[in-house]
Amino acid sequence: MSRFTEAVLPPAATFVATTLVAELAIRAAGVSPLLLPAPSAVARAAVRHAPTLWPALATTAQAVAIGLALSTVVGLVAAIALASSRWVERAFYPYAIFFQIVPIVAIAPLLVIWFGYGIRAVIAAAFIVSVFPVIANTLAGLRSVDPALRDLFRLYGASGWARLTKLSLPWALPNVLTGLRVAAGLAVIGAIVGEFVGGGGLGVVVLEAMRQQRTDLVFAAVLHAAALGLALFAAVNAVSRLTLRRWHTQEKDA
């Protein structure tokens, strides 16, 4: 069995089995499609409303991509600043945690007032909910740099910039990627919530479908959002595999 088959077959089998069981159970129970549409009904809605869903998905994906890119850049810079001294960390880290606990749904209307309707408010929502995991994980990575390697860099008179670019950041890369994996899923959630108030994308499709009693389309839109999250997760994993292929954790654990 190839590695691809090994990776794809078990989840695909789970998917097919779950879908089948759901289909049969929902049909057997005679559940109203208004409450819980059968998988086949959701699939039909996805096909039928593809002209609505695909452009919406593209809009949401764009906001998520920009939000996530912002989270990465800002998260890295913030983590580097926080790691620069214990004093800075003590002074600012509690406020970074704000991003983790902020109830995005509650402040979403404010985003519209600050950024106006449209993609900027959506990007802001995606950014706000996804930046903290990047900060927290990167900071943990920067803090975990092997002390012996720090000594080595000191011994050879490395500049602060060299320490950062040749030691701390590469060392923290696995943590950064872990943070991004978490951030990717959150950014999708943030974007959808942002779209509830800012307009556009799958968020509005969900609201429209709710208002028009199209539960099948609600599920189809939610599945498109989930697929977007999964795709981002897979992309981060691919980057991880490519960049970390050559390191082994044992070296870092040593």
Partner: protein
């Protein structure tokens, strides 16, 4: 100012799934609740009623009936539930509640999607939904407004009447954005227009210093019954008498509220502190002609006509919102009234 977007948004996505789960857990049959022996004993018969908004004048008759003991007099114990963002149609369909408040277009849409919900009482004969703009724009009608220089229109995504506007008027100069259940953006932008209930937001906006002008959606020719009491046809068959009693009590409640809204407004004001007493008073006055008109004077408060349902079904079909023709007769029912 209005409202908890949090609830609205949270439930928008969550409720469908939560309901689906509740359903999967076996709550979908619904018959069990309805099948309780009707009026078997002196114990009051329970009815659960899901509202789709906070206590506001649109529910005046319900709160008056409750306050004045009109439900109790008929042996009913009505338990209110729901609120902003509650998926009322789904709750009724799932049998979580016997009764709910929805708009007539939701009933037609739900029936098109295979649901069995029917309307038994129409609070508003003429829809209280409107579009609020700043009076300074100087528009004389909806047609004039949409033909003017354009702006931003904040409406709940998916509202059938917005599709209707798009069909009737040219909205290309208007940027349509989601309504966030707050008049704050409206107050801050002279080019902004938003959806309202004439009983609430325009009054709030005026009290916050704006000079709003409201055009009723009905003016455009799209005029669904609003704040409609819905139930399932199955419930009607099993518990027609009890639901009939509810409708009678509600009529009495509305009669009393129209005559003197103050007592029920006090009750609602205690539950909804975001709206002050004056706003309640003004809202009740503003809605009175929408609740009581010549038709209700002939047929009773809450009465509905086949013609109106047929028009609505036809309009929704034309807008492409229905997958098949919906029989207008099936959308509403006169419960079996007790003598």
């Amino acid at each position: 100012m209005t409202n908890p977007l949090r609830t609205a948004l949270g439930s928008a996505l969550g409720s469908a799934l939560a309901l689906a789960l509740a359903c999967a857990a076996g709550g979908c049959g619904g018959e069990t609740q309805d099948a309780a022996p009707a009026g078997a004993a002196a114990a009051p018969a329970g009815l659960r009623l899901a509202l789709n908004w906070k206590p506001e004048p649109e529910f005046g008759g319900i709160f008056e009936a409750e306050r004045a003991g009109l439900f109790a007099k008929r042996g009913l114990a009505v338990e209110r539930t729901g609120g902003p963002g509650a998926p009322v149609v789904q709750m009724v369909q799932a049998g979580q509640v016997e009764l709910g408040i929805a708009a007539a277009d939701e009933v037609v849409l739900a029936r098109d999607r295979g649901s069995d919900v029917v309307a038994v009482y129409a609070t508003y004969q003429r829809s209280p939904q409107g579009i609020m703009v700043h009076a300074a724009r100087g528009a004389g009608s909806l047609a004039e407004l949409f033909a003017s220089r354009g702006g931003t229109l904040a409406v709940e995504p998916g509202l059938p009447y917005v599709k209707w506007f798009e069909k009737r008027y040219d909205l290309s100069r208007w940027k349509i954005v989601p309504y966030s259940y707050s008049v704050a953006p409206f107050l801050g932008d002279p080019e902004m227009a938003q959806q309202v209930f004439v009983t609430a937001e325009p009054i709030a906006a005026r009290r916050q210093g704006a000079d709003p002008q409201v055009f009723l959606v009905a003016e455009s020719g799209f005029d669904p019954y609003t704040a409609v009491v819905i139930t399932r046809r199955e419930s009607l068959r099993a518990n027609g008498a009890r639901i009939g009693d509810f409708v009678l009590a509600l009529q009495e409640g509305w009669r009393a509220y129209l005559d003197d809204p103050a007592p029920a407004n006090a009750v609602m004001g205690a539950l909804n502190t975001e709206m002050d007493a004056e706003t309640f008073r003004l809202g009740a006055a503003a809605q009175a002609p929408l609740v009581e008109d010549d038709f209700t004077r002939r047929h009773g408060l809450g009465a509905m006509s086949l013609e109106r349902w047929a028009t609505l079904a036809k309009q929704l079909r034309e807008l492409g919102l229905l997958d098949r023709d919906v029989d207008p007769q099936s959308c509403f029912a006169e419960p079996v009234l007790q003598d």
